[in-house]
């Protein structure tokens, strides 16, 4: 929707992008002086991006142009004021989140604004908090690829990242990890370092073939385990090596999807499943790994066999699992 980076010659958007913010402000001041009635129309232009509206915000307010703005633009300015308030009134903070224009404004801020990350501290804070509102409040997963890209871009510039990273994981979507994984094989060392931190994986050295292997292994692991992943509550605010996403071995053993946010089964457990889990709980940790991995693989390849296997005594399950996978217990 906002992917077209071109802007018609002469528009405020064109001037900002080609001649800079100050030239844009000067031109806007001329327009206010000579044809004030034309100013709202220029601001409401569909091609206008958030960076331009943000840059002109003081002049818009000083000239009393707010009332002529589109609802989306008015909502965007309200969001800016809210984010930059010294002490935010809570909860909700006076923003009508159920208003479609407000939702659209948050989305527009992030989608058109991310390319100008670094415009100012205030601008970046608005971007960061818009991202967190979109992922947490609106469950807007469409921004996750762009959000991942912004995190790594800003990381290269050594800027403040933690709120953006927090916003990314507020999606509570294990599949979102696939947007971080490609940076495991990046030629840029800062990219790899951050990807290792966020995915809780070890640094594997300077050999690029190993980066590719680590990426492929991770993607396979994600594919196999995503229904059983949950968010632990750890974050960069609480730890220097957070394990943000964990694998629920019980869920994998039962092949039962869990809520990634609450770590509870999506469908309630049956009495048979509860019984299976009580047997599973008696196994050693290394045995639980073997059992859950085998269970998942068997369930995918042969559901009938799995149905027989899951009802066997756990010792028998383990014997078959060890034979079936060829793995030995340590």
């Amino acid at each position: 929707m906002y992917s077209d980076s071109r802007a018609p010659v002469g528009t405020l958007e064109y001037i900002r992008r080609n001649r800079g913010v100050n030239a844009c402000k000067r031109r806007f001041q001329e327009i206010i002086g000579k044809q004030k009635e034309a100013a709202p129309r220029l601001l409401n232009d569909e091609g206008l991006r958030f960076a331009t509206l943000f840059s002109l915000k003081p002049q818009i307010e000083e000239s009393g142009l707010k009332d002529g703005l589109s609802e989306k633009n008015r909502a965007a300015l309200q969001i800016c004021d809210k984010v930059l308030e010294e002490k935010k009134a809570l909860p909700g903070g006076g923003i009508s989140y159920t208003d479609e224009n407000v939702h659209a404004a948050f989305l527009w801020i992030f989608q058109t604004g991310a390319e100008n990350d670094g415009l100012s501290d205030d601008y970046d804070e608005i971007l960061d908090l818009s991202a967190s509102v979109l992922t947490r409040r609106y469950r807007e997963t469409s921004i996750l690829p762009g959000l991942a890209a912004l995190i790594f871009r800003r990381n290269r510039k050594k800027g403040y990242l933690h709120d953006l990273i927090w916003a990314f994981f507020q999606s509570h979507d294990p599949n979102a990890l696939r947007y971080l994984a490609p940076y495991l094989r990046s030629a840029n060392a800062r990219d790899r370092e951050l990807a290792h931190l966020l995915l809780h994986l070890p640094d594997i050295g300077a050999d690029s073939r190993r980066w590719e292997t680590q990426y492929r292994k991770f993607m396979k692991w994600l594919q196999d385990n995503s229904p059983y992943l949950y968010f632990t509550g750890e974050s960069l605010q609480s730890s220097n090596q957070p394990e943000i996403c964990g694998l629920d071995r019980e869920a994998k053993y039962l092949c039962k999807q869990i809520s990634p946010r609450k770590r509870t089964p999506v469908d309630p457990l049956t009495s048979q499943e509860k019984e299976s889990l009580s047997c599973f709980a008696q196994a050693e940790e290394s045995e639980q790994t073997v059992l859950s991995d085998y269970s998942k693989a068997l369930h995918a390849s042969n559901p009938e066999s799995w149905n027989r296997w899951i009802h066997l005594p756990v010792e028998e399950q383990l014997r078959l699992a060890k034979n079936g996978t060829g793995r030995r217990l340590v």
């Binding site: 809210k82 984010v83 935010k88 809570l90 909860p91 909700g92 903070g93 923003i95 501290d121 970046d124 804070e125 960061d128 908090l129 967190s132 509102v133 992922t135 947490r136 409040r137 510039k157 050594k158 800027g159 403040y160 990242l161 933690h162 709120d163 927090w166 916003a167 507020q170 509550g233 750890e234 974050s235 960069l236 605010q237 609480s238 730890s239 220097n240 090596q241 957070p242 946010r261 609450k262």
Partner: protein, 251 residues
């Protein structure tokens, strides 16, 4: 149960180890633990008691210092001792003495503003300064960067690493998580705290309160449809006391 060089310590030996109140209280908790706690020497044990007690003292001192709460984007520091980094952290200024720079935060708190995790790191540096003395502290920590749990000196790395322990003690760093925080106020996503006595906790920006009060503060900053309360995580960041003791002995 405390074992020193493989031998369980007697109650008489315990009573002679320290006479300072906070240290005695920590010692009593260690001695009554069901787990076997091994130390190489009584000096090593006393070092841990001292560092824990000084951590508690430093937390109380920082609470009274006047240092403001601010998110990283709006953090501030005294430029006589620190350079503010692009991320909002504080890096020791070239030529500044580490001991004086840390002390300045406590002496001129109003010149500083940061968030709760960085405050925890400041507390540990202050405690180490008290235990090691200025000369040794300056040798051990010639470069300091204060930015929550990141860019931490390797000697303090364990403070930033959350682990589950069988029990928790004064001087531990704990974390209250707030999973349903309002997304417009990420600064309320959780609170890093220092355990002062098992009942009271110091959190920068919150103050010194019990767990229920801190949880209530966090809950007041949740999203409207919140269905999860804030809670104290069953884990702690804990300095590597034995390694720090070894460092303290290497003159």
């Amino acid at each position: 149960m405390i074992f020193i060089a493989g031998k369980q310590i007697t109650s008489e030996e315990l009573s002679n180890l320290t006479h300072e109140n906070t240290e005695r209280s920590i010692l009593s908790q260690l001695a009554s633990a069901e787990e076997k706690l091994d130390y190489d020497s009584s000096e090593q044990l006393v070092f841990e008691l001292r560092l824990r007690a000084q951590t508690v003292a430093a937390a109380k001192e920082l609470d009274k210092s006047g240092m403001d709460f601010a998110i990283f984007r709006k953090s501030r520091c005294n430029p006589d001792f620190w350079d503010r980094t692009a991320e909002g952290g504080f890096r020791l200024k070239s030529g500044a003495k580490p001991s004086e720079a840390i002390s300045d935060i406590f002496d001129h708190g109003r010149k500083y503003a940061t968030e709760c995790a960085t405050a925890m790191v400041i507390v540990y540096y202050r405690a180490l300064l008290a235990v090691l003395g200025a000369d040794r502290f300056n040798q051990v920590f010639p470069k300091i960067e204060l930015m929550n749990w990141h860019h931490l000196d390797r000697l303090l790395r364990d403070v930033g690493l959350m682990k589950k322990y069988p029990f928790y003690l004064p001087g531990d760093r704990r974390y209250f998580a707030n999973p349903d925080v309002d997304p417009l106020t990420p600064e309320w996503q959780g609170e890093n705290v220092i355990d002062l006595n098992g009942k009271l906790y110091y959190g920068h920006g919150v103050g010194i309160y019990d767990a229920d009060t801190i949880i209530r503060s966090l809950n007041q900053n949740r999203i409207e449809d919140a269905d999860e309360t804030a809670y104290l995580m069953d884990s702690a960041g804990r300095p590597d006391f034995k390694n720090l003791y070894r460092i303290s002995q290497n003159h």
